[in-house]
Amino acid sequence: MAEVEETLKRIQSQKGVQGITIVNAEGIPIKTTLDNSSTVQYAGLIHQLVMKARSTVRDIDPQNDLTFLRIRSKKSGIMIAPDKDYFLIVIQNPSD
């Protein structure tokens, strides 16, 4: 449990990382380094996006599944590692 904290702290301190959130399969945030309102917003929106992405992948090929999702935008980037039960979401600033 402490290892989880330590690892999150380490990643948080890396260059460019704005925040990390872990969300469960229903879209409820479990652990986060952002403030509450942002967390809730990200959790809800990204959960829907991942569900849509996953269903897209699956519809094209039922044997396939989503493994990683990365969004690049002008001001930031979001990386999502989805699993069967949880998502790990990392929000970053592409400062370089």
Binding site: M1, E3, V4, E6, T7, R10, I11, Q14, G16, V17, I22, N24, E26, G27, I28, I30, K31, V40, Q41, A43, G44, Q48, M51, S55, D59, F68, R70, R72, M79, A81, D83, D85, Y86, L88, V90, Q92, P94, D96
Partner: protein, 589 residues
């Protein structure tokens, strides 16, 4: 002419109130009907009806009767026969249901966007939309429907989990395994930050980093250092993975500044991705002084510790502590184990460990008691304090050990001469590193080995002669480790206490190293290991830093290198023979 009249309904017009009232039952007497009536089609107006007993109290009643006229004429053929609505006239008009045709209109397909805002929308502009939303249009996939339902049910932001539930989840096994895997992937992705949007026309190209150079010299490729686990620890051993050439494991001594941290740490580093954190972190209770990947078990890492325990870590489990360890018993090792080696083949392999009290043990999986152990004793009296051990290529029985006294011995595991065979004297200080010739080529040099020692020299030996063939004396400090290149027959690397990494190419020069580099900070370098491809060399220093150098062109062997090396050897032997008068003692192998 006779007129048949059928009275359908009867109405009375009240001229005072100017209302028309229907009269339900009105019985007509025959006599009344005989009057002259002004007949209008369908409506017959009777002007004077005072004689009729009308149920209405009206001073001036007038009656209007709605009738259906059926005209019957005489059956005179000269008269027109008018048949108008005769059928309908006969029966009472009754309204009944006609044949119903069912027409099904499907609800209009509406494109719905699953967009929700934070403030709930109360009342939309068009009522149509609301109606349609209520209809819940059918969608293709069930998942989508479920998600929609969930959204509409949960709303936004959704139900919250209590702190306890969150803690519960965070401790659960499946969460930890998910976290382990996805954090690793995420770190790699974070490290691979390349700017795909870079516009070359927008700005001038700055001078590129010195990545393109490094053709013929030794250049620094990576530095692996972990703030938490590497700080203040000495790297005691290194090993490259035989299965994944980008992985290497480094073992670390204890951290004196942090007594509460585990004493022994082994970190598995990954060269392939740019992330600077270890792939796996393992630790144990006693400082790890030797480490290696288990050659035939890709998931296992073997460690030899200062306490004499052998520990086994498994990267499949999430635990950072060993999955197996040997008991601390007199049957096993009780002294630091400086060498661990897996020898054999896929089907028949053993883990060989040697400790500084001269005991050599050979283990099989699962390690609990040694399968075989042997005391390495020279001349049946003096135990050998082993600091290094190496097996020549392809040999599983005979091996070479270096000792603290400066002598090197050959020994064999089985056979009639099990135990120490020959003694090689030459070094004046403890032997720190030992390496048997590895490169396989047209000429066999497997009898050669090099040793490094505290006496500032690296010596080249052959198992056939008990005195060194050559001594390399370019260094001015303790030499901590030496290793032959796995691909180049005449190349070896040595590291010393001044932070120098030397590459010696015996085909070019035997007096000075061909390439030399000092690490930043000039900390003492404790270990050197070539990667299995022979292109990179890893050095570990006393500050816990792991440097990966790229040897470039130097390390690439050419086909004539073997022949050249054979000639070099002959020259060396010839020079040696001239220099020393005493005859070489030829040893039978």
């Amino acid at each position: 002419m006779r007129v048949c009249v059928q009275i359908l309904r009867q109405f009375c017009f009240n001229s005072a109130t100017k209302r028309i009232v229907e009269i339900p039952d009105l019985q007509w007497e025959k006599s009344q009907l005989n009057r002259n009536v002004a007949c209008r089609f369908f409506f017959i107006w009777f002007p004077d009806l005072t004689e009729l007993k009308l149920p209405v109290s009206d001073p001036n009643p007038s009656l209007c009767v709605c009738v259906l006229l059926t005209l019957q004429w005489d059956t005179d053929p000269s008269v027109l026969q008018l048949q108008s609505d005769s059928e309908l006239g006969r029966k009472m008009q009754r309204l009944g249901a006609t044949k119903i045709t069912q027409v099904d209109f499907l609800p209009r397909e509406v494109v719905l966007y699953c967009k929700e805002t934070q403030t709930p929308i109360t009342g939309t502009e068009e009522e149509d939309d609301e109606e349609i939303i209520d209809l819940e249009p059918a969608l293709e996939s069930d998942q989508q429907e479920e998600v929609d339902n969930k959204e509409t049910r949960e709303g936004y932001p959704g139900r919250e989990l209590t702190e306890e539930e969150k803690q519960q989840i965070l401790k659960s096994e499946e969460f930890l395994s998910f976290f382990d895997c996805s954090i690793r992937v995420m770190e790699r992705a974070l490290a691979e930050q390349s700017d795909i949007f870079f516009d070359y026309s927008g700005r001038d190209l700055e001078d590129k980093d010195g990545e393109l150079q490094g053709g013929s010299s030794l250049s620094l490729s990576r530095l692996f250092y972990d703030e938490h686990w590497s700080k203040h620890r000495v790297i005691t051993c290194l090993d490259w993975s035989p299965q994944y050439p980008e992985l290497l494991v480094a073992s670390y001594n204890n951290n004196e500044d942090a007594p509460h941290e585990p004493d022994g740490v082994a970190l598995v580093w990954n060269m392939k991705f740019k992330k600077n954190t270890p792939e796996y972190v393992f630790h144990c209770q006693s400082p790890v002084v030797a480490v290696g990947f288990a050659r035939f078990h890709p998931n296992l890492v073997v460690g030899g510790t200062y306490s004499g325990q052998i520990v086994l870590w498994d990267n499949r489990s999430h635990r950072r502590t060993p999955v197996q360890r040997t008991p601390l018993s007199a049957a096993a090792h009780t002294h630091p184990v400086y060498c661990v080696n897996v020898v054999g083949t896929q089907n028949a392999n053993n883990l060989i460990t040697v400790s500084t009290d001269g005991r050599m043990c050979s283990w099989t999986q699962p390690i609990s008691t040694p399968w075989d152990f042997m005391e390495l004793v020279y001349n049946k009296s003096k135990p050998v304090a082993v600091t290094g051990m190496a097996f020549p290529t392809g040999d599983v029985n005979n091996y070479v050990v270096g000792s603290e006294e400066g002598t090197v011995y050959t020994a064999s595991r089985h056979g009639s001469k099990a135990g120490i065979c020959e003694m090689f004297e030459g070094h004046q200080g403890p032997v720190t590193g030992l390496s048997c010739h590895n490169a396989v080529g047209p000429v066999d040099f497997s009898h050669l080995f090099v040793t490094s020692s505290f006496d500032w020299t690296v010596k080249l030996w052959s198992t056939k002669h008990n005195k060194p063939l050559y001594s390399f004396e370019d260094n001015a400090d303790y030499i901590y480790d030496v290793m032959w290149s796995p691909v180049h027959p005449a190349l070896f690397a040595a590291v010393d206490g001044m932070g120098r990494l030397d590459l010696w190419n015996l085909n070019s020069d035997t007096e000075v190293p061909t390439a030399s580099v000092t690490v930043e900070g000039a900390s003492a370098l404790n270990r050197v290991r070539w990667a299995s491809g022979g292109k990179e060399v890893a050095v570990g220093d006393s500050e816990g830093r792991l440097w990966i150098y790229d040897a470039g062109e130097l390390a690439v062997p050419h086909s004539e290198d073997w022949a050249r090396f054979a000639r070099t050897l002959m020259e060396i032997k010839a020079n040696r023979g001239d220099a020393e008068e005493e005859g070489l003692v030829e040893l039978t192998p």
